[in-house]
């Protein structure tokens, strides 16, 4: 029942916002519905709901974490949208609002489904629902970005489907009479799964969902999509759209680890994680477009996530933590980047210079976000990245640790160059498209997110630590 509400309420909102005629107060639907959704999620934290009879639906800690992250961030974004859509009167916002709602519904579906097929359906819905966000600006560049996003996304999603089928084939036909895609039963009968099919499933799902996550070398759609989408859409993509496929990868990883394919899976994850970090390092250095820079930084963080999962329970713990930190920080970064972009009418170092002079709060937030995302204390990413480094040394992956540190440094150098030249300096004369200063509604959401990041960096709530520990152990089969 609760599952139905979690998935259904946002869907209903989406439909209603499709029906509503008035552009002005359509956006107000979102905060209302999202706050209801968030309260439901909080209720779930109080008492973890019992799985549904067929075992298709259920919430474990990992799912719950991703779900709460998505819900909370979308709520914040919807507050931002109120002002943003008011500023962008020239564009009809029906599709935009609707797809925001559908995204939350699809994300909830992904989080609560314990059935790989269902999870796949949710993921596909997520992909399709986010296309309108990217295309919001309706110019040739955004069109191109959307096209690339669609093609790459569909390719990935198709491969993920194939992986799902492989998974289904991994269970011997007559061994179990139940649905062969229900995660719990898969874990239950992990011993009798046929390993070749399982391996295939892992590879296909990793590549498929990795495409959605934006792991290198499947990341190529990411800079275009993030760069051309409005700031808030970029935040949604980086915060929500990446954590859901990560959840999918976690699921299959869990199955593999309980089926005794731990080394195989970890090896692949470490490989692809380091590859992604390296790619990000290469492309961030000398990046003149600060939205694309954020995209590559997101590629880097996705790499950190999978790397962490590949490094054993401790690494997984910190990877899940980093998932939260990255989501929140990226949200703040994209929102402030959007503000700066609008204030200068350009998103490259050549247009935007000395943002501190024109939109002080957004610029400060952008700078802080940069500091935070690169893992400096007192912000939260420090805890998780330091932890992943520790677990790399602890599990004896010295090479991985070395690469990790080197790539972190490289990415920092690259981002610093861009961010500092955007934030500092003296702005040249106002271009005509420039907006006037900071407006409270558009700096409040990033402030909320950044303060959350700061708080998490200074104090980890115990319930959160507990949940992270439990899911980390579960995922690595160390129950």
């Amino acid at each position: 029942m609760i599952y139905l509400c979690l998935v259904g309420i946002p869907a209903l909102m989406g439909l209603s916002s499709l029906l509503v005629k008035n552009d002005d107060w359509r956006p107000w639907i979102l905060p209302l519905g999202f706050s209801i959704h968030l309260s439901l999620v909080i209720a779930c934290w109080k008492t973890i709901p019992t799985p549904s009879p067929l075992g298709w639906f259920g919430l474990d800690e990992a799912g719950l974490i991703v779900l709460s992250l998505s819900s909370a961030m979308l709520l914040v974004f919807s507050i931002y949208c109120l002002e943003y859509l008011r500023l962008r009167k020239e564009r009809p916002n029906r599709l935009f609002t609707a797809s925001l709602a559908f995204i939350l519904s699809a994300a909830s579906l992904v989080c609560v489904s314990r059935q790989m097929g269902l999870l796949w359906v949710g993921m596909e819905a997520l992909t399709l629902a986010s296309a309108p966000l990217i295309y919001f600006n309706h110019n040739q560049r955004s069109l191109e970005a959307t096209w690339k996003y669609l093609m790459m996304g569909s390719l990935g999603i198709g491969l993920a489907l194939l992986g799902t089928f492989f998974l289904a084939l991994a269970t011997p036909a007559n061994a179990v009479k139940s649905d062969p895609l229900v995660i719990d039963s898969l874990i239950l009968h992990a011993r009798i799964l046929s390993l070749p099919w399982l391996k295939g499933a892992f590879i296909f799902l990793l590549v498929g969902y990795g495409t959605k996550m934006g792991l290198s070398p499947l990341h190529s759609w990411k800079p275009d999509a993030y760069g051309e989408a409005p700031g808030v859409a970029g935040g949604v993509l980086a915060g929500v759209m990446t954590s859901c496929p990560f959840l999918g990868i976690l699921r299959i990883f869990q199955i593999c680890s309980s089926a005794g394919l731990l080394e195989f899976a970890q090896g692949l994850l470490i490989l692809i994680g380091l590859l992604s970090m390296a790619t990000a390092a290469v492309f961030v250095i000398g990046q003149r477009d600060f939205k694309r820079m954020l995209a590559y930084s997101s590629v880097e963080n996705m790499g950190i996530l999978v790397l962490g999962v590949g490094l054993g329970p401790m690494g997984t713990f910190f990877a899940l933590l980093h998932l939260i930190n990255n989501g929140l920080t990226k949200g703040a970064l994209f929102l402030s980047a959007g503000n700066i972009h609008r204030a200068f009418g350009g998103k490259t170092m050549d247009h935007a210079r000395g943002a501190l002079g024109r939109v002080p709060i957004s610029a400060a937030l952008f700078l802080l976000g940069f500091i935070a995302i690169t893992g400096s204390p007192p912000f939260a990413s420090f805890v998780s990245e330091f932890g992943i480094l520790r677990s790399a040394l602890d599990s004896g992956h010295f090479g991985a640790a070395f690469g990790f540190v080197i790539f972190l440094a490289a990415v920092f150098i690259g981002m610093a160059t861009t961010v500092l030249s955007v934030v500092y300096g003296t702005p040249q004369e106002k271009s005509d498209k420039a907006a006037q200063g900071d407006s409270p509604f558009m700096v409040l959401p990033p402030i909320i997110l950044m303060s959350a990041v700061l708080f998490l960096g200074l104090w980890l709530p115990h319930w959160l630590t507990h949940a992270l520990k439990r899911s980390a152990n579960a995922l690595n089969g160390v129950l």
Partner: protein
């Protein structure tokens, strides 16, 4: 039954092979429609327990969707565009056919590594589906017209779906429906986007879509 399904599978593979070598958009769309129809028939032949109601449902859904609706969407999408054939592709037709053959080889090689799922009677299913899938990818890669790429994507989907038949006996049909629906919506959205592309650039050459990048 057995023989029929074998023939049908070979036919499907040949269809995509043919599409790989075909230069006219309309032709490709027709081929893809045919392939879709074959896919629709296949479950009836391949499946163990005769004509179950859910098998019928899926089969008919497939038949309609892949045989008629999707081709219709595509032809609608390219209505404005004058160009009817794929001009200079990235890789010539002959060489792409060669690569296709090579891919078929790879897919057989990979399929050999996988144990035969015990409820499938024909050993062709896995390799054929893999090769159809790979040829779809190849088509997405080597063609420059947006529509052709969508066709490639469809072929790729068909391959996956072909594979899906292997589990149709146990996968709940709701899932299959969801899958079908998703595929349809995906193609629908793509059609819309192609339409926009056509209007924005008054051509559906993806050569125009290379402004973004580092």
């Amino acid at each position: 039954m057995q023989a029929f399904s074998q023939i049908l599978l070979v036919l499907i593979a040949l269809f995509s092979f043919y599409a790989l070598g075909n230069s006219s958009l309309i032709g490709c769309i027709r081929i893809i429609a045919l392939q879709g129809m074959c896919l629709g028939i296949l479950p009836l032949l391949i499946d163990r327990q005769g004509f179950g109601i859910q098998i019928l449902l899926i089969a008919s859904g497939m038949f309609i969707l892949k045989g008629f609706l999707i081709p219709r969407v595509l032809s609608y999408a390219i209505r404005e565009v004058k160009i009817r054939r794929e001009m200079e592709p990235l890789i010539g037709y002959n060489s792409s056919l060669l690569i296709g053959a090579f891919l078929i080889g790879i897919s057989f090689l990979l399929a050999a590594r996988l144990p035969l799922p015990d409820n499938i009677r024909t050993s062709l299913l896995v390799p054929v589906s893999l090769s159809v899938l790979m040829m779809g990818m190849l088509m997405m890669i080597v063609r420059v017209k947006a529509v052709t790429q969508v066709i490639g994507y469809l072929m790729f989907e068909n391959g996956i779906y072909l594979f899906g038949l292997a589990i149709s006996y146990q996968a709940p049909w709701l899932i299959e429906m969801g899958v079908l629906l998703d595929v349809f919506v995906a193609v629908f959205v793509m059609g819309i986007v192609i339409n926009h592309i056509a209007r924005a650039f008054d051509s559906i050459n993806t050569e125009n879509l290379t402004n973004l990048g580092d």
